[in-house]
């Protein structure tokens, strides 16, 4: 019995061992299969990951390229009102002139709004308009930039620069052509330039194309940032459309340069002097500004500024050039100037002081002045802005203009208060009182020789980073001529202060 039990026990034990062996073999076989499967899966995942990495690298390359393209722009929608519409227009149909000239009722006696976003048309005392609608595309890499900016002007803007009534028939041809250019509407080119910066000290750049002239402060100050609706009268007159075609050298010290050097900068180059249009003469205009910028971040004060120069020529298509005789107070003709270049020279100084007031915020006081010589025409004191070729004789005037501006931030209400005064005297050698009925014919002067001052008051509210609302009121004052000019058809309106004040309410969306 015992033996039987022992035999049974041994058989069971053997069976158990055998079963264990089989199970172990099976487990090992399963583990191997699992490992192989895992390896396969891992290889697959690795392949997928490699594929994703490649795809990521490709996408990154594309995104990196695309991130160099920057699109920005702004739209300015505004309402403008000629607040003295009735006083500025002919309400009688007689031209309000002792000469008895018949005008339609509602015709403006003098230009209104011409430096405040465009001249009001006869019979129009207020208007809604899109003042600027710009889109800028820039491709920016570390050392190169290419920019194209377009402007869309759906409204006819009239002549934004010619401020004066046509006095001498000799200049009519010029003026008509310019007005036609400005009122074209549609899409116009604002900027088209490229810039290369040296790779060694990243300080010297070469810029070529169509861009802001490097003169003073206000020209380069973007319309989207400016606290007044328009630039000062002197800049609109001397630098119409702000841009010119040319080649410029810029020295703006980078962080690689000594710190003291970064206080200074220089921009200057050669330009056609014709604004947007093609070159019409052999003369190049040389424009430049040497600037500085100092500040104390601790004291929160700073001073920026610069001196600028413009040295160019305007081609005379007429044999005669008129020079102003300061003693006699008359324009005197001089012959032998056909196809000769008449000097266009400006000297400028600009300063911008920055500081902060407790509880209000930062403020800036800006001032800028220009004097020089302006070759233009009898009834037109503005610089050429297109390839106008006129047979009218050139009139050379001594000019002086300046503006002073105070911009006070009121941070608590996201606003800015603005006070601006600008003055432009297109002929410093004659006063308004010198223009009288006894001498005016001999003097050969026109309203283009009169000085205008403008006082502006404004409020800018920054709704958010995109939207800005501006309310601005500007009051225009003119240099008065002698009272006896009341009988002169060109000057009678300037015997008293004109009523050309304009209120502007603007909403700007920037993106």
């Amino acid at each position: 019995m015992f033996l039987l039990r022992a035999l049974f026990f041994m058989c069971s034990f053997c069976l158990f061992i055998y079963a264990q062996d089989i199970q172990t073999e099976q487990t090992n076989a399963n583990s191997d299969t699992l490992l192989e499967k895992l390896k396969e899966d891992l290889d697959k995942a690795k392949g997928t990951l490699d594929g994703l990495n490649e795809s990521f690298a490709e996408t990154k390359t594309t995104v990196d390229k695309l991130s160099k393209i920057k699109i920005s722009g702004y739209i300015q929608f505004q309402y403008r009102m000629a607040t003295n519409y009735k006083e500025a227009t002919d309400t009688t149909g007689t031209g309000a002139s002792p000469l008895g000239k018949t005008n339609p009722v509602g015709k403006y006696l003098y230009p209104v709004g011409d430096f405040a976003g465009g001249k009001f048309g006869d019979g129009i005392g207020s208007m809604l308009q899109i003042r600027r609608a710009r889109i800028k595309v820039a491709y920016e890499s570390k050392l190169t930039t290419g920019v194209v900016q377009l402007d869309c002007l759906p409204f006819t803007m009239s002549n934004a620069v010619n401020s004066v009534t046509q006095a001498q028939d000799t200049s009519k041809k010029v003026s008509t052509t310019q007005t036609s250019f400005l009122s074209g509407g549609g899409i116009t080119l604002k900027d088209a330039y490229f810039r290369f910066t040296d790779p060694w000290i990243e300080t010297i750049s070469l810029k070529a194309g169509y861009f802001d002239r490097p003169f003073g402060f206000e020209i380069g100050y973007s319309s989207s940032n400016r606290e007044s609706p328009e630039r000062s009268r002197l800049f609109q007159t001397l630098f119409p459309l702000e841009r010119d075609l040319g080649l410029s050298l810029e020295l703006v010290p980078s962080g690689r340069m000594p710190e003291w050097l970064s206080l200074f900068n220089f921009k200057g180059g050669a330009f056609t002097g014709n604004g947007i249009n093609v070159e019409t003469d052999d003369y190049l205009d040389y424009i430049g500004r040497f600037g500085f910028s100092v500040m104390s971040q601790h004291l929160q004060i700073g001073l920026d500024g610069g001196v600028s120069g413009y040295f160019g020529k305007v081609k005379n298509y007429n044999d005669t050039t008129y020079f102003f005789n300061a003693d006699k107070k008359i324009f005197e003709p001089s012959t032998g100037y056909k196809y000769q270049g008449i000097n266009r020279k400006y000297y400028g100084l600009d300063l911008q002081f920055y500081a902060s007031l407790p509880f209000l915020g930062g403020f800036t006081l800006r001032g800028e002045g220009i004097s020089g010589y302006q070759p233009c025409f009898s009834a037109n004191n503005s610089s050429p802005k297109s390839n106008v070729t006129s047979s009218s004789p050139v009139y050379l005037r001594n000019i002086l203009g300046y503006y002073l501006m105070w911009v006070q931030n009121i941070d608590a209400i996201n606003s800015q208060f603005v006070l601006k005064y600008d003055s432009f005297d297109p002929n410093t050698l004659i006063n308004g009182n010198d223009i009288d009925s006894a001498h005016v014919k001999l003097q050969k002067v026109s309203p283009a020789d009169l000085m205008f001052n403008t006082l502006g008051l404004g409020w800018v509210y920054h709704w958010n980073e995109n939207v800005k609302i501006m309310a601005y009121y500007e009051m225009v004052n003119n240099e008065k001529v002698a009272p006896d000019m009341i009988k002169n058809k060109d000057f009678f309106v300037y015997t008293n202060p004109i009523k050309a004040n304009v209120f502007t309410l603007r909403i700007q969306y920037k993106f």
Binding site: T83, G362, F363, T364
Partner: protein, 279 residues
């Protein structure tokens, strides 16, 4: 005259409306910017709000550039930055606010070089780090490690750390195109902790689960860890300040907050988080 009256009435209405809209009492301080400073900024905010229950401090990251853009756009009161403000950013502040931005140094940081805990490399010279990130050294064996390809991790270009590292370690040169840009120091640390042959850089406070590499100024110098003593003694070669920027000199509740950050209490938090006090 009638027209002028209308205009003045209109102007007064607009001004009144604006005052009315802005009349809400402000007890919220918004802080935005450097990802390096997010942990620190959050700790400051928590402590300050606990002591001043009527004040809310909202902290978000996004990078130094993002913070400074928000300051310029008026969407934050304080911009945190792990690099000094750029000239172009000062110009934008000047244009909008007629100020220059006001800088307050709130902490010091040693930019830390991270490698995986399994990496045998324990020290690097500045020139080796530079060559690695310029893509001139691509194998660990060239700096005393295994024979394996170096995998570069770094920050995106809106990061102050990215700019500081490029300007001060790479001497202004561009990073190797093989560097993987990640959206935060935490992401860099995470990537390096999982990649045996990865290398990354970032704030000292984030160095968890990775190995900190000692850094030496040149091949003949001694290598140092980014510790308080080494940073104080200027032995650790990659140090920088951490900044808070406001539009102008801080006033009101913002001033109180920054003053508290610079106090012993605020600076103690700097040490606790893993950065170095400025006072």
């Amino acid at each position: 005259m009638k027209n002028i009256n209308k205009i003045f009435l209109f102007a007064i209405s607009i001004v009144s409306l604006i005052f009315f809209m802005s009349a809400t009492s402000k007890k919220v301080i918004t802080v935005k910017g450097s990802d390096t400073m997010v942990i620190l900024a959050q700790r400051w905010a928590e402590e300050y709000m606990a002591k001043n229950p009527d004040i809310t401090v909202q902290v978000t990251g996004g990078g130094s550039g993002t913070g400074l853009s928000a300051l310029i756009n008026g969407t934050t009161d304080i911009a945190n930055a792990s690099r000094p403000i750029k000239k172009s950013e000062i110009e934008r502040i000047k244009q909008r606010y007629n100020t220059f931005g006001y800088e307050t140094k709130v902490a010091k940081d040693g930019i830390t070089i991270y490698v995986n805990e399994g990496n045998i490399v324990s020290e690097l010279s500045l020139s080796q780090i530079k060559s690695i990130y310029l893509g001139q050294i691509t194998n660990w064996k060239d700096v005393g490690g295994d024979d394996a390809k170096i995998v570069l991790y770094g920050r995106e270009n809106n990061s102050g750390t990215y700019v500081y590292f490029r300007d001060n370690v790479l001497d202004g040169k561009d990073y190797s195109s093989t560097m993987q840009s990640l959206p935060g120091t935490a992401a860099v640390v995470n990537a390096v902790s999982k990649d045996k042959y990865g290398i990354g850089y970032g704030g000292a406070a984030y160095a968890k689960g990775v190995k900190i590499v000692k850094v030496k100024k040149d091949d003949n110098s001694k290598a140092y860890d980014p510790t308080l003593e080494n940073i104080k003694d200027n032995n650790y070669p990659i140090t920088r300040f951490l900044y808070m920027y406001t539009k102008t000199k801080p006033e009101g509740i913002v001033k109180n907050y920054i003053d508290w950050i610079l106090s012993a209490e605020g600076q103690e938090i700097v040490s606790k988080v893993g950065y170095f006090p400025v006072k």
